[in-house]
Protein backbone atom coordinates (compact mmCIF):
# COMPACT_ATOMS: atom_id res chain seq x y z
CA UNK A 1 0.00 0.00 0.00
CA UNK A 2 1.30 3.42 -0.90
CA UNK A 3 0.90 6.24 1.57
CA UNK A 4 0.40 9.88 0.61
CA UNK A 5 3.56 11.53 1.99
CA UNK A 6 1.55 14.67 2.80
CA UNK A 7 -0.68 12.69 5.16
CA UNK A 8 2.36 11.02 6.71
CA UNK A 9 3.91 14.41 7.33
CA UNK A 10 0.67 15.79 8.81
CA UNK A 11 0.76 13.04 11.38
CA UNK A 12 4.26 14.08 12.33
CA UNK A 13 4.00 17.83 12.64
CA UNK A 14 1.62 20.72 13.10
CA UNK A 15 3.94 23.20 11.40
CA UNK A 16 2.85 24.26 7.91
CA UNK A 17 4.82 22.77 5.00
CA UNK A 18 4.71 22.79 1.22
CA UNK A 19 4.80 19.86 -1.19
CA UNK A 20 8.17 21.15 -2.43
CA UNK A 21 9.45 21.12 1.15
CA UNK A 22 8.73 17.38 1.17
CA UNK A 23 10.20 16.85 -2.29
CA UNK A 24 13.44 18.66 -1.43
CA UNK A 25 13.95 16.67 1.76
CA UNK A 26 15.09 13.82 -0.47
CA UNK A 27 13.64 10.95 1.56
CA UNK A 28 10.54 10.22 -0.53
CA UNK A 29 10.43 6.94 -2.40
CA UNK A 30 9.33 6.71 -6.02
CA UNK A 31 5.66 5.97 -5.36
CA UNK A 32 5.41 8.72 -2.73
CA UNK A 33 6.87 11.18 -5.23
CA UNK A 34 4.34 10.14 -7.84
CA UNK A 35 1.43 10.68 -5.44
CA UNK A 36 2.41 14.30 -4.85
CA UNK A 37 2.95 14.72 -8.59
CA UNK A 38 -0.64 13.60 -9.20
CA UNK A 39 -1.58 17.14 -8.25
CA UNK A 40 -0.23 18.22 -11.63
CA UNK A 41 -3.18 16.47 -13.28
CA UNK A 42 -5.34 19.03 -11.53
CA UNK A 43 -3.13 21.98 -12.34
CA UNK A 44 -1.32 22.01 -8.99
CA UNK A 45 2.47 21.73 -9.02
CA UNK A 46 2.93 22.93 -5.46
CA UNK A 47 0.68 23.33 -2.45
CA UNK A 48 0.86 24.54 1.13
CA UNK A 49 -0.57 22.52 4.01
CA UNK A 50 -1.64 24.61 6.98
CA UNK A 51 -2.79 22.71 10.09
CA UNK A 52 -5.05 24.85 12.25
CA UNK A 53 -5.34 23.87 15.88
CA UNK A 54 -8.93 24.63 16.78
CA UNK A 55 -9.92 25.89 20.22
CA UNK A 56 -11.59 22.56 20.94
CA UNK A 57 -8.27 20.78 20.39
CA UNK A 58 -8.96 19.13 17.04
CA UNK A 59 -7.00 19.98 13.90
CA UNK A 60 -8.45 21.56 10.79
CA UNK A 61 -6.56 21.86 7.50
CA UNK A 62 -6.31 24.70 5.00
CA UNK A 63 -4.50 23.60 1.84
CA UNK A 64 -4.13 26.12 -0.99
CA UNK A 65 -2.35 24.86 -4.11
CA UNK A 66 -1.78 25.89 -7.69
CA UNK A 67 0.41 25.76 -10.81
CA UNK A 68 2.95 28.35 -9.58
CA UNK A 69 1.94 29.43 -6.08
CA UNK A 70 3.86 32.18 -4.30
CA UNK A 71 5.19 30.37 -1.24
CA UNK A 72 7.85 32.81 -0.10
CA UNK A 73 8.00 33.27 3.71
CA UNK A 74 5.76 36.35 3.59
CA UNK A 75 3.20 34.55 1.47
CA UNK A 76 3.26 31.55 3.83
CA UNK A 77 2.69 33.82 6.83
CA UNK A 78 -0.21 35.54 5.06
CA UNK A 79 -1.76 32.23 3.96
CA UNK A 80 -1.68 30.95 7.51
CA UNK A 81 -3.55 33.97 8.79
CA UNK A 82 -6.05 33.74 5.92
CA UNK A 83 -6.57 30.07 6.74
CA UNK A 84 -7.31 30.79 10.40
CA UNK A 85 -9.76 33.60 9.62
CA UNK A 86 -11.47 31.45 6.97
CA UNK A 87 -11.79 28.52 9.37
CA UNK A 88 -13.35 30.82 11.95
CA UNK A 89 -15.81 32.28 9.43
CA UNK A 90 -16.91 28.81 8.33
CA UNK A 91 -17.30 27.70 11.94
CA UNK A 92 -19.51 30.68 12.72
CA UNK A 93 -21.63 30.01 9.65
CA UNK A 94 -22.05 26.38 10.74
CA UNK A 95 -23.07 27.43 14.24
CA UNK A 96 -25.62 29.85 12.83
CA UNK A 97 -27.04 27.09 10.64
CA UNK A 98 -27.15 24.60 13.53
CA UNK A 99 -28.96 27.14 15.70
CA UNK A 100 -31.50 27.81 12.95
CA UNK A 101 -32.07 24.11 12.37
CA UNK A 102 -32.48 23.25 16.03
CA UNK A 103 -35.68 25.27 15.97
CA UNK A 104 -37.95 22.38 14.97
CA UNK A 105 -41.19 20.86 16.11
CA UNK A 106 -40.26 18.67 19.07
CA UNK A 107 -41.05 14.94 19.01
CA UNK A 108 -43.43 13.44 21.55
CA UNK A 109 -42.02 10.96 24.03
CA UNK A 110 -43.54 8.07 22.09
CA UNK A 111 -42.15 9.34 18.77
CA UNK A 112 -38.72 9.63 20.35
CA UNK A 113 -38.94 6.14 21.77
CA UNK A 114 -39.93 4.70 18.40
CA UNK A 115 -37.19 6.61 16.56
CA UNK A 116 -34.63 5.41 19.08
CA UNK A 117 -35.52 1.84 18.02
CA UNK A 118 -35.53 2.75 14.33
CA UNK A 119 -31.98 4.00 14.90
CA UNK A 120 -30.93 0.52 16.01
CA UNK A 121 -32.23 -0.93 12.74
CA UNK A 122 -35.40 -2.58 13.99
CA UNK A 123 -38.36 -2.94 11.63
CA UNK A 124 -41.78 -1.54 12.48
CA UNK A 125 -43.02 -5.06 13.29
CA UNK A 126 -40.12 -5.66 15.68
CA UNK A 127 -40.64 -2.29 17.35
CA UNK A 128 -44.36 -2.99 17.71
CA UNK A 129 -43.45 -6.24 19.43
CA UNK A 130 -40.96 -4.54 21.78
CA UNK A 131 -43.28 -1.68 22.73
CA UNK A 132 -46.48 -3.73 22.80
CA UNK A 133 -48.13 -1.67 20.07
CA UNK A 134 -49.69 -2.53 16.75
CA UNK A 135 -47.47 -2.25 13.68
CA UNK A 136 -49.65 0.44 12.02
CA UNK A 137 -49.34 2.52 15.21
CA UNK A 138 -45.56 2.29 15.09
CA UNK A 139 -45.56 3.26 11.41
CA UNK A 140 -47.81 6.21 12.25
CA UNK A 141 -45.36 7.43 14.93
CA UNK A 142 -42.46 7.11 12.46
CA UNK A 143 -44.36 9.05 9.81
CA UNK A 144 -45.15 11.83 12.28
CA UNK A 145 -41.52 12.00 13.34
CA UNK A 146 -40.40 12.13 9.70
CA UNK A 147 -42.76 15.01 9.06
CA UNK A 148 -41.53 16.97 12.09
CA UNK A 149 -37.90 16.33 11.19
CA UNK A 150 -38.53 17.27 7.57
CA UNK A 151 -37.19 13.91 6.38
CA UNK A 152 -38.26 11.95 3.28
CA UNK A 153 -36.62 8.75 4.44
CA UNK A 154 -36.48 7.18 7.85
CA UNK A 155 -32.69 6.88 7.65
CA UNK A 156 -32.47 10.64 7.21
CA UNK A 157 -34.99 11.07 10.03
CA UNK A 158 -32.61 9.14 12.29
CA UNK A 159 -29.72 11.43 11.30
CA UNK A 160 -31.80 14.56 11.92
CA UNK A 161 -33.11 13.23 15.22
CA UNK A 162 -29.54 12.69 16.43
CA UNK A 163 -28.31 16.06 15.18
CA UNK A 164 -31.17 17.89 16.82
CA UNK A 165 -30.65 16.05 20.10
CA UNK A 166 -33.96 14.17 20.02
CA UNK A 167 -32.28 10.77 20.28
CA UNK A 168 -28.74 9.61 20.81
CA UNK A 169 -26.67 6.61 19.77
Amino acid sequence: MVRDPVVTELRRTLTPFSWNDLRSRGDLNKSEKSIIDEGRDFGAKDGFMIPIITPSGSVALFSPCGPEPDLTPRARAALEVIGMYSFHAIKRALIRRLRAESVHQPLTAREREVMQWVATGKSDEEIADILNLSTPTVTWHVENAKRKLDAFRRTYAVVQAIRLGEISL
Binding site: T15, M84, S102
Partner: protein, 221 residues
Protein backbone atom coordinates in the same frame (compact mmCIF):
# COMPACT_ATOMS: atom_id res chain seq x y z
CA UNK B 1 -13.45 38.47 42.04
CA UNK B 2 -11.57 40.82 39.70
CA UNK B 3 -9.51 43.49 41.46
CA UNK B 4 -8.40 46.47 39.39
CA UNK B 5 -5.25 48.18 40.62
CA UNK B 6 -2.94 50.79 39.18
CA UNK B 7 0.84 50.91 39.40
CA UNK B 8 0.44 53.84 41.80
CA UNK B 9 -1.03 51.41 44.36
CA UNK B 10 1.95 49.07 44.53
CA UNK B 11 2.95 50.26 47.98
CA UNK B 12 -0.62 50.10 49.25
CA UNK B 13 -1.01 46.42 48.31
CA UNK B 14 2.46 44.88 48.73
CA UNK B 15 1.31 41.26 49.24
CA UNK B 16 -0.97 41.23 46.24
CA UNK B 17 1.65 42.73 43.93
CA UNK B 18 4.30 40.39 45.32
CA UNK B 19 2.08 37.42 44.53
CA UNK B 20 1.38 38.87 41.07
CA UNK B 21 5.07 39.35 40.16
CA UNK B 22 5.94 35.89 41.47
CA UNK B 23 3.15 34.33 39.41
CA UNK B 24 4.49 36.11 36.34
CA UNK B 25 7.94 34.72 37.10
CA UNK B 26 6.56 31.19 37.38
CA UNK B 27 4.54 31.39 34.18
CA UNK B 28 6.87 33.33 31.87
CA UNK B 29 10.43 32.90 33.14
CA UNK B 30 10.23 29.37 34.56
CA UNK B 31 7.33 28.04 32.50
CA UNK B 32 7.96 29.57 29.08
CA UNK B 33 11.69 30.12 29.43
CA UNK B 34 11.49 33.77 28.42
CA UNK B 35 14.50 35.91 29.22
CA UNK B 36 12.92 38.70 31.21
CA UNK B 37 14.33 40.79 34.06
CA UNK B 38 13.72 38.55 37.06
CA UNK B 39 15.47 39.36 40.32
CA UNK B 40 14.53 37.41 43.47
CA UNK B 41 11.87 35.37 41.69
CA UNK B 42 9.86 38.47 40.74
CA UNK B 43 9.19 39.28 37.09
CA UNK B 44 9.03 43.09 36.82
CA UNK B 45 9.85 45.13 33.70
CA UNK B 46 10.00 48.77 32.61
CA UNK B 47 6.29 48.86 31.80
CA UNK B 48 5.36 48.18 35.44
CA UNK B 49 5.26 51.89 36.26
CA UNK B 50 2.64 54.12 37.84
CA UNK B 51 0.61 54.23 34.62
CA UNK B 52 0.13 50.46 34.40
CA UNK B 53 -3.30 49.01 35.21
CA UNK B 54 -3.56 45.48 36.59
CA UNK B 55 -6.59 43.18 36.52
CA UNK B 56 -6.24 40.41 39.10
CA UNK B 57 -8.67 37.50 39.40
CA UNK B 58 -8.43 36.80 43.12
CA UNK B 59 -10.03 33.69 44.63
CA UNK B 60 -11.78 33.51 47.99
CA UNK B 61 -8.55 32.20 49.47
CA UNK B 62 -6.75 35.31 48.18
CA UNK B 63 -4.96 33.30 45.49
CA UNK B 64 -4.41 35.07 42.16
CA UNK B 65 -5.81 32.70 39.54
CA UNK B 66 -5.57 35.08 36.60
CA UNK B 67 -4.10 38.44 35.69
CA UNK B 68 -3.59 40.89 32.84
CA UNK B 69 -1.71 44.14 32.63
CA UNK B 70 -2.52 47.08 30.35
CA UNK B 71 -0.24 50.04 29.71
CA UNK B 72 -0.59 53.29 27.74
CA UNK B 73 1.08 53.47 24.34
CA UNK B 74 1.68 57.22 24.28
CA UNK B 75 5.32 57.14 25.37
CA UNK B 76 6.32 53.54 24.80
CA UNK B 77 4.95 50.04 24.25
CA UNK B 78 6.23 46.53 23.65
CA UNK B 79 5.18 46.75 20.01
CA UNK B 80 6.75 50.17 19.37
CA UNK B 81 9.93 49.44 21.32
CA UNK B 82 10.68 45.83 20.43
CA UNK B 83 8.27 44.57 17.76
CA UNK B 84 7.63 47.37 15.24
CA UNK B 85 8.05 44.86 12.39
CA UNK B 86 4.76 43.27 13.48
CA UNK B 87 2.91 46.34 12.15
CA UNK B 88 2.40 45.93 8.42
CA UNK B 89 1.02 49.35 7.47
CA UNK B 90 1.95 52.59 9.17
CA UNK B 91 3.60 52.96 12.54
CA UNK B 92 3.02 51.31 15.91
CA UNK B 93 0.25 53.13 17.79
CA UNK B 94 1.14 56.02 20.05
CA UNK B 95 -2.16 57.31 21.32
CA UNK B 96 -3.80 58.23 24.61
CA UNK B 97 -6.83 56.16 23.60
CA UNK B 98 -4.93 52.98 22.75
CA UNK B 99 -3.57 50.73 25.48
CA UNK B 100 -1.44 47.62 25.16
CA UNK B 101 -2.30 44.38 26.89
CA UNK B 102 0.46 42.08 28.17
CA UNK B 103 1.30 39.32 30.68
CA UNK B 104 -1.99 37.52 30.29
CA UNK B 105 -2.39 34.58 32.69
CA UNK B 106 -5.45 32.40 33.25
CA UNK B 107 -5.15 29.55 35.79
CA UNK B 108 -8.52 28.52 37.19
CA UNK B 109 -8.31 25.88 39.96
CA UNK B 110 -10.36 23.38 37.93
CA UNK B 111 -9.11 23.10 34.37
CA UNK B 112 -12.33 22.05 32.68
CA UNK B 113 -13.30 23.68 29.42
CA UNK B 114 -16.26 25.42 31.08
CA UNK B 115 -14.17 26.84 33.92
CA UNK B 116 -11.44 27.92 31.53
CA UNK B 117 -13.85 29.81 29.30
CA UNK B 118 -15.58 31.39 32.28
CA UNK B 119 -12.26 32.51 33.79
CA UNK B 120 -11.05 33.98 30.49
CA UNK B 121 -14.33 35.74 29.92
CA UNK B 122 -14.28 37.17 33.44
CA UNK B 123 -10.85 38.73 33.33
CA UNK B 124 -10.86 39.87 29.71
CA UNK B 125 -14.40 41.17 30.18
CA UNK B 126 -13.31 43.19 33.22
CA UNK B 127 -10.43 44.62 31.21
CA UNK B 128 -12.69 45.57 28.26
CA UNK B 129 -15.21 47.10 30.61
CA UNK B 130 -12.57 49.29 32.26
CA UNK B 131 -11.35 50.37 28.82
CA UNK B 132 -14.91 51.16 27.72
CA UNK B 133 -15.49 53.23 30.87
CA UNK B 134 -12.28 55.14 30.18
CA UNK B 135 -13.29 55.79 26.57
CA UNK B 136 -10.36 53.98 24.99
CA UNK B 137 -10.62 53.13 21.29
CA UNK B 138 -8.39 50.06 20.91
CA UNK B 139 -6.53 47.46 22.90
CA UNK B 140 -3.49 46.03 21.14
CA UNK B 141 -1.47 42.97 22.02
CA UNK B 142 1.03 40.43 20.69
CA UNK B 143 -0.04 36.81 20.49
CA UNK B 144 1.50 33.53 19.44
CA UNK B 145 0.01 33.23 15.94
CA UNK B 146 -0.96 29.61 16.49
CA UNK B 147 -3.37 30.87 19.17
CA UNK B 148 -5.24 33.16 16.77
CA UNK B 149 -8.25 30.77 16.56
CA UNK B 150 -8.64 31.03 20.35
CA UNK B 151 -8.75 34.83 20.18
CA UNK B 152 -11.18 34.75 17.25
CA UNK B 153 -13.38 32.56 19.43
CA UNK B 154 -13.46 35.34 22.01
CA UNK B 155 -14.54 37.89 19.44
CA UNK B 156 -14.66 37.88 15.66
CA UNK B 157 -13.47 41.48 15.82
CA UNK B 158 -9.88 40.42 16.36
CA UNK B 159 -8.05 42.64 13.91
CA UNK B 160 -4.60 41.60 12.61
CA UNK B 161 -2.07 44.46 12.49
CA UNK B 162 0.48 42.56 10.41
CA UNK B 163 1.85 39.19 9.40
CA UNK B 164 3.26 36.62 11.82
CA UNK B 165 7.03 36.76 12.36
CA UNK B 166 9.26 34.27 14.14
CA UNK B 167 10.40 34.83 17.73
CA UNK B 168 12.76 32.87 19.92
CA UNK B 169 14.30 31.09 16.96
CA UNK B 170 11.03 30.29 15.22
CA UNK B 171 8.84 27.23 15.36
CA UNK B 172 11.59 24.66 14.91
CA UNK B 173 13.27 25.85 18.13
CA UNK B 174 11.87 24.74 21.50
CA UNK B 175 10.37 27.75 23.25
CA UNK B 176 10.14 29.63 19.94
CA UNK B 177 7.29 30.21 17.53
CA UNK B 178 5.61 32.83 15.40
CA UNK B 179 3.98 35.92 16.86
CA UNK B 180 1.69 38.59 15.49
CA UNK B 181 0.14 41.88 16.63
CA UNK B 182 -3.64 42.14 16.91
CA UNK B 183 -6.04 44.65 18.29
CA UNK B 184 -9.62 44.77 19.53
CA UNK B 185 -11.93 47.74 19.17
CA UNK B 186 -13.14 48.86 22.59
CA UNK B 187 -16.89 48.63 22.01
CA UNK B 188 -19.98 47.26 23.73
CA UNK B 189 -20.27 44.74 20.89
CA UNK B 190 -16.87 43.25 21.62
CA UNK B 191 -17.61 43.24 25.36
CA UNK B 192 -20.85 41.33 24.64
CA UNK B 193 -18.90 38.80 22.55
CA UNK B 194 -16.53 38.21 25.45
CA UNK B 195 -19.35 37.82 27.96
CA UNK B 196 -21.11 35.34 25.65
CA UNK B 197 -17.89 33.36 25.34
CA UNK B 198 -18.02 32.64 29.06
CA UNK B 199 -21.66 31.55 28.98
CA UNK B 200 -22.33 27.85 29.69
CA UNK B 201 -21.76 25.23 26.96
CA UNK B 202 -25.46 24.37 26.56
CA UNK B 203 -25.92 27.75 24.94
CA UNK B 204 -23.58 26.74 22.12
CA UNK B 205 -24.93 23.79 20.10
CA UNK B 206 -21.68 23.29 18.25
CA UNK B 207 -19.76 22.88 21.51
CA UNK B 208 -22.23 20.22 22.60
CA UNK B 209 -21.44 18.31 19.42
CA UNK B 210 -17.71 18.35 19.95
CA UNK B 211 -16.34 15.30 21.72
CA UNK B 212 -15.05 16.22 25.17
CA UNK B 213 -11.38 16.97 24.71
CA UNK B 214 -8.93 18.29 27.27
CA UNK B 215 -8.61 22.08 27.02
CA UNK B 216 -5.68 23.08 24.76
CA UNK B 217 -2.56 24.52 26.38
CA UNK B 218 -3.03 28.20 27.15
CA UNK B 219 -1.02 30.50 24.92
CA UNK B 220 -0.11 33.36 27.19
CA UNK B 221 2.65 35.87 27.41
Amino acid sequence: MIRVLSGKQRDAYPDLFDQHFRLRYDVFVKGRGWSLPAADGLEIDQYDDSDAIYFLDVSEEDRIQGSIRITPTVKSSLIADYFPHLIENGQPARSSSIYECTRYIVQPPRKTRGDNRAAKSRIIGAMLEWCLDHRLTYLQTIIDSVALPTYLDLTAQTIPLGLPHPYGGGRKTPGGGDCMAIRWPVTQEVLDDIRNYGAPAEADPLLAHVAAAPPPAEFVH
